[in-house]
Symmetry: D2
Subunit: 415 residues, 4 copies
């Protein structure tokens, strides 16, 4: 087992850990640990809400979650010798839930996925599913099942939702400028267009005084992916992956968390992955001056690992960039096309007895593949969602005796 350079007591909030992590991107969050190129080390992580969600049958905790605290990141890990312009080469050697434990904290043998209320975060289909729902998932080795979504069992493409390097002061400034400009186009929107820095709920690692104040005032929220990596929510950052991160500050200052047991492309119900606390083991290296050498500036580049579960039979749903509710045609909008592909899949799954919420959570958590089809055939972008038939314990394909509708229960709801 590698040395643990960032450790977590899963029963305690991040702010009370011996060395706390942070929840804003800022160049001045002090390193929590230091490693050298060539090192192998372990980072332990809280689940992204810092323990606000319980293993129970009520979605009230999802409804009432305090998003200002999210995501709770482990780090920063300083990498000796890293300088702006380098590429940080990160190998994901292993990751998983809290090892060898069954318990009340998320990641201790279980995880959850939630549909967030439209008034508190929302999700990809929030216009169709405006309320809060939850499902609990039990882990058995690399597989999971849920008492809230019977009939499916997945082998998880376990991965971290969010890792990245610290932004430089200049890069942070650009983020704040461009995101505030976006918010200004519709400042009262629900859900909002973006989230500006927010003092409330800020955890600045071990910083104090003026530095902590600056981090709270200017630190970028961790919700989106940006130039430094961040919340990619790409399921293929799995074991065996190698990622090349741009370095923007001395020592790179690498942070992350938001571990997922499984997730479909798009993480469509926002908290759509199966969330968990756990650990992740890294090997680290540097390519000096690699950003210019390889032309890698705007985002990390990565090579996926070899151990994603092999699903080979899919039922594929297509969507185009039309809003079918009022027959409005959008222009080359892949987001809308993918939304329709997902809605088409949900409609299909409901024919077999699943509720819409269950179907939504299946798409969020199972290893679906979300593909860009055509993005040049005006006016309709075309996207598709590949649903592996092999995750179901019944034959989900069209044909034969038609859809076998059964009572398949319901996910956890609010009271």
């Amino acid at each position: 087992m590698p040395d643990v350079v960032f450790s977590i007591d899963q029963s305690t909030p991040m702010a009370q850990q011996r060395v706390p992590g942070h929840n804003r991107w800022h160049p001045d969050v002090p390193p929590a640990a230091t490693v050298k190129p060539g090192d192998v080390f372990r980072v332990e992580c809280k689940e992204w809400t810092d323990g606000q969600i319980g293993n129970n049958d009520s979605a009230n905790d999802v409804r009432d979650v305090d998003l200002s605290r999210c995501h709770m990141l482990s780090g920063p890990i300083a990498v000796e010798g890293a300088e702006p312009g380098d590429l940080l080469v990160i190998d994901i050697l292993d990751l998983g839930p809290v090892p060898q434990t069954q318990g009340p904290n998320c990641g201790e043998g279980w995880g959850y996925s939630g549909i967030f209320a439209k008034v508190n975060g929302g999700g990809f289909l929030t216009d169709y599913f405006p309320d809060a729902y939850k499902a609990i998932w039990d882990f058995q080795g690399q597989q999971c099942t849920s008492r809230h979504v019977p009939g499916v069992r997945y082998t998880g493409i376990t991965h971290p939702g969010l890792f990245g390097t610290a932004p430089s002061a200049d890069l942070l400034d650009r983020w704040n400028r461009r995101e505030r400009a976006l918010i200004a186009t519709d400042p009262d929107r629900v859900p909002p267009l973006a989230l500006p820095p927010l003092v409330d709920g800020t955890l600045a690692g071990t910083a104090s005084g003026d530095i902590a104040d600056a981090i709270a005032r200017d630190g970028a929220r961790t919700v989106p992916a940006r130039e430094n990596g961040g919340n990619h929510d790409i399921k293929n950052f799995t074991r065996g992956s190698r990622i090349f991160y741009p370095v923007f500050v001395d020592d790179a200052r690498f942070s992350g968390g938001d571990l997922h047991f499984s997730q479909g492309d798009g993480e469509i119900n926002f908290c759509g992955a199966i969330e968990m606390g756990g650990y992740i083991d890294f090997h680290v290296d540097l390519i000096k001056g690699g950003m210019e050498t390889y032309g890698i500036h705007n985002n990390p580049v990565f090579m996926p690992g070899r151990v994603a579960p092999l699903y080979s039979e899919f039922l594929t749903f297509i969507g185009v960039s039309v809003d079918h509710r009022d027959d409005t045609n959008l222009y080359m909008d892949a987001t809308q096309a993918y939304r329709n592909a997902c809605l088409n899949a949900i409609e299909y799954l409901k024919k077999w007895g699943y509720t819409g919420e269950q179907a939504y959570l299946i798409l969020g958590t199972s290893p679906i593949e979300g593909r860009i089809g055509g993005v040049v055939d005006i006016p309709n972008a075309c996207c598709s969602v590949f649903l592996p038939t092999e995750i179901f314990d019944f034959d989900i394909r069209p044909g034969g005796d038609g859809p076998v509708r059964a009572d398949r229960g319901q996910v956890a709801v609010t009271s």
Copy 2:
């Protein structure tokens, strides 16, 4: 070899074929042939521009192409017993270029891909590549190479870009209404937001008189995908696939064409696939009343085949929904995120000596996978493009001796 129910002389335009096809969607295009559920049959196809592009080293023909004639479709094939509300079950048994022939017509041992000029069709990156370019690809069995793009060899995921059933009069009317409404929001845009019906260039199959006039006046252009299928440009419609098409008119009236030897997800340079004339073999069946039974209304559903080439090592580029030219933040725009992922890949490939145009055509034609990453992390949608490293005859991965820049020539340009 199955019976050929729609035959093509590749040296002759579609309008001069013995039984001509059509290039507009309309319920009244007369069937060119009739089949029964359970039948196996072959359909021959022209390449999508109807033979306007030659096997040469000039992109003038791409620059000057007449798009009003595209796409040239084979069909309609009437399916006995099909009624509105049914699902048409189509198995793609085989498809390929013109069999056993080497010759001057596209599909006779060769195909092409083009970057269309911004003033004539454009493409996904038309702001970055506004001019016309072309590459010719030679077929060797299931593999292809290009004298215009050295250093790569692909095994093609051969597929039809476009097949679909005829729209009902009502559905056609909805299409025309919603697309005209979109055009009206910016009628002078170049390239346009959508293409309305156009009398010029219409080929109405064997229709004549008033019916031909109506088809020319009201028939939907074949560019986008819609409820009836249409121009999906999904590379996974390959051999062995089974597709469930909604039926909107009696006898279904199934048409298509636009065969591709290979294509990447997104078909990003518009004519981004390797285009070819050729043949496609189908098995056909019906699920009576299947649209309601399975909840399949908005788009076809399909199950991909098993013989897509197995590429297992990828270099993956990520993009988020920011316009990096002026640091504008777009809201959850997967189209922009995918555009950035592609631009990032092009930047990388240029470090190895490819021109931007070559890199653009590699992404358009090779079996890249375009994935939806996160579409819920405000404000940045995140998409990724998986480039198979195994298509290159040199080691394209970061590391080692760094990028080996070589003179790799250039694609065909205009004069």
Copy 3:
């Protein structure tokens, strides 16, 4: 389409072709054509029995087949510049049945597989299935079905059973010596231990006179694989494969045939593949002195292609080196272990209503994987056969409602 350097009229025996091929390995069979390193070319092939088997419902032709004429090989193809000690680099670009034809000759839309009678060739399970049987398979694109074996549909791993270079006189002499020594240990065995040269039935290509006599007298039978390649019956020699053949004579003199539409590992019923006439397209190159450079002396080395069909769910049967009929323990006998694995699979398939002969033919023709398990755990070698569940149109897995026994007919029998 590549140039055809060896052409076949499928309705005519090999001996009556314009340029006949041959059916013995000998250095002096005159080249039928010449190619150069870098060339792409097509070779047309007869099915291995030279047309003795018909598309009908009687196995009499299998029972009565004249094996002295088999295998009929196309070639030799001389490769300019090849010398003993070189490696001949062969790319299989494409192969398939007789193109674009439906007809009475094997390969014209159909193929066959046979269980040979113990008195005439036998097979892997000839003690259990001593009589002659046959199944006809119809091709639909890359898939096949059989009226004699309902309930299965395969995507074929199409490949040549047999290609190789000519032996030198010295190598041929060694073959004859060691195989005659083996025969001498039990000269009257049925089936025989090996087949010595046989004048009857010899076809010596275009040779005549003394040379033809020498070929008939000394030429090695084509049944087994040897140092020159030969009858490997390895299903993974499929499209996209690259093979490195040792060269033993000037110009390499490359010959082959015995095309298979599909085959399981082991080709267990001897004529266990789905046999067909057809074509194969090659690219050829040389590595001068490559045998010594790479240490490749005893057998060819190859790299399989990327387009084998993807089957991912298997039912795996195990066998160990015991003869369960009389509980005799053999020592580390992988042949016996694999025989038991196959027998165990047959026993299982019979529970679903297949006859033993049908089950035997499924194992021979479908893309089963035959694996060496343990070959060190004395005294029992352990082998396994991986049967893809996805080839069946019903659920073949244990569990649920148990094996659903149905009347599944029978293969063609003798009269």
Copy 4:
């Protein structure tokens, strides 16, 4: 984490564990624990030699190993309700080395593989490698490397070598009879043809008195696979697999161990896997009367899991059943054919600077696939070994600059 029903202190021999396991197959070994159908549980295991091998650079411990103690099995686990004739349905949920530990005992972050001396166990190529050698492998997540075999890194197909149900008294009697008959054909052979029961070194679980004596006197050695399962050494018994074991005694009495981090097909150097202590998690169920229902009598049947690492590029070596040392032709001997395929691969690897011992250990430990090619083409069986090129950190394929010979060190040798 599931309940541990059989626990191990890795620093202590099996005989001294709180509840000891056993190392002979016998119906009367008392159950160490009891589970019910539907249960999920964990079994901890010692590595197969019970801790005789150290993490060091000498092969003396391999040379001197006491094989009479091997394999040390955890169990038996009684399954309530199981009766002779049932099928025991075992799901492998997870397995791995000793969790979260780095230490001196095998499985604590490391494993080993050994070439056993011909006079003490031998191996598949013992005539070519008669002495003892060893390599130590370090685990990083699912990957491993060795200081003794530089240049390779594998993702392990982690699996148990050996699990099985207890034989009935009658079945045990048949084993002893048939194996003694085999030994009698050449009683002085080195290595021996089989291993008869042996009182020395017997560990009979918690049995004592007459029962312990009977177990020592009659208990079958654990080396080979037999009807009850046993030492299959099939690498595909990995996470997610479901195995159907025949039941021969009441409560099934399921035992096993011999965990492997990685192994190639054949486990060719005998102790050819990367051996480790660790844990394995099971789900258990029963199919009452399943042996007759499904025709499963002679061996277990299994369905492999979905998470085997995906290697898609192979260099494949072929062998036929000839002894090339003296040009002796064996008859249809797949064991010999596979031996030659392995020897051919070793010859190739030596051209790149590996020693024969290193090459032998690469074949034993890496995820090679060992395939039955043809077993019907008299007189030569044909087998092949698929070596994944992607495990090497240099380009191992023929071509280009030829084999790059480097000094690649050597494995641990004896002093």
